[in-house]
């Protein structure tokens, strides 16, 4: 019976699919762990940087620095951090929806990752440039992006720089998030970011009062130090968002691949049942033929 062979073929193909998805799941799980560890490893740096920034804020005239301010409206440049590859569930779709909702109509885009670059280009968005970021995220990849965005902002070409990325809440939940990078709101500077999902709860809040009480000497001057520190702060922000997006990507892929593997295994089970039934039917039919033939010869 041709039917039997067809079923056997299908079982084989579904089985090999499930092997691939299983392997992808395991790889994604390992990479997710790495991204999480990476985010945690940056905690010390974030902690110290925040402490010094809080103190600097108290020691300098906030609004004087060109990177600080409260710009509302104006021309927007949005950095969209998506994934390079697909097979990660609804991650990119959800982010795109969020981008459509949050971006101002005449916003222009800078992208990381192929997936949303294509979607945004297709829907007519103006993409200024595109970056590729290695995995795991090297800090050095964040720097040129930060520099590019800062330059664009300082040259006055754009009044506002925002970043859209997937925020890692837990292995099962990633939420699309848009946050303002530039100008840095002086009141938000060094505050705990609401998107710090990876390794949340690992460190306490920066103790503002204690940080302010530190009587630092600044070399050469508080303004000079602030001038050097703000770019570092932006570098670090971008880096952290990249790591966050990477952790989201891997966990979303892990979950999607787990679902795919489960479905494939279920399908194999059903097909095996069908195969056995068909085989049984074939045997019964054959026996029936033999007995009928014998009866006829008697």
């Amino acid at each position: 019976m041709a039917n039997l062979r067809d079923i056997r073929r299908r079982i084989k193909s579904v089985k090999s699919t499930s092997q691939i998805t299983k392997a992808m799941e395991l790889v994604a799980a390992a990479k997710m762990k790495k991204a999480q560890d990476q985010a945690l490893a940056g905690r010390d740096y974030a902690d110290k940087l925040n402490k010094v920034l809080v103190n600097l804020k108290g020691n300098t005239d906030d609004e004087s620095h060109p990177l600080l301010g409260q710009s509302e409206g104006g021309k927007e440049l949005m950095l969209v951090i998506s994934t390079q590859r697909g097979l990660c569930g609804g991650l990119n779709t959800n982010l795109l929806k969020k981008v459509r909702k949050e971006a101002s109509p005449e916003a222009e885009y800078v992208t990381v990752g192929k997936k949303l670059r294509q979607s945004i280009a297709k829907s007519g968005g103006n993409i200024v440039t595109d970056w590729e970021v290695a995995d795991p995220v090297p800090f050095n990849d964040a720097k040129p992006i930060a520099k590019f965005l800062t330059d664009k902002f300082l040259s006055g070409e754009y009044d506002k720089i925002t970043v859209a990325f997937n925020n890692f809440v837990s292995t099962l939940t990633q939420t699309p998030h848009v946050s303002q990078l530039l100008p840095i709101r002086a009141d938000e500077l060094a505050e705990k970011q609401d998107y710090e999902g990876v390794g949340k709860g690992e460190i306490g809040e920066t103790d503002d009062a204690a940080a302010l009480n530190m009587d630092y000497e600044f070399e050469p001057s508080a303004e000079g130090v602030l001038d050097k520190l703000l770019p570092l702060y932006i570098n670090f922000q971008i880096y952290q968002m990249l790591v966050e997006a990477r952790a989201s990507e891997h966990s979303a892929r892990m979950v999607a691949m787990k679902a795919a593997t489960d479905n494939a295994n279920k399908m194999v089970k059903e097909l095996t049942l069908e195969y056995n039934k068909a085989r049984q039917a074939a045997i019964t039919a054959e026996l029936l033929e033999i007995t009928t033939a014998m009866k006829a010869m008697e």
Partner: protein
């Protein structure tokens, strides 16, 4: 008298231990920090960081960042800190050559020039450290 020194990059904590003194490449010139130093924040430029631990001087090539001194604790926040054994001389030389060529070429605007000079300064710091030991 010793004090706590932490050298931290965004990627990981490179060093965390007590040392006797530390010399840093400050943006205003090299500075030495001993125990009980006053609270201080200062930017750093690419160069060499030296610290003395148990009578032995250890050296690291460092990139851009800043140093924070508080409560007899020194924290160096830096984007690169690399020991002598981890430096790949050929690779660094190549990167430096590329940067120099780019710098010598045309169409270099002011910002790019600054970025390239940082690359060269970092490379030089690493090479100097590497060759000193040979």
């Amino acid at each position: 008298m010793s004090f706590q020194l932490d050298i931290v990059t965004p990627e990981k904590t490179i060093f965390s231990d007590t040392v006797d003194d530390v010399y840093l490449p400050g943006s205003e010139g090299e500075m030495g920090i001993l125990s009980m130093h006053a609270a201080l924040v200062a930017p750093l430029k690419p160069g060499e960081l030296r610290y003395l631990k148990d009578g032995k001087i250890e050296e690291l090539a460092v990139g851009e960042g800043f140093v924070e001194v508080a409560d007899n604790k020194v924290s160096v926040l830096i984007d690169l800190a690399i020991g002598e054994d981890a430096i790949d001389e050929a690779k660094v030389e190549e990167a430096m050559k590329r940067a120099q060529e780019a710098l010598a070429g045309e169409n270099v605007d002011h910002d790019e020039m600054a970025a390239l000079q940082v690359v060269i300064a970092k490379s030089e710091a690493m090479l100097r450290l590497k060759r000193k030991r040979m």
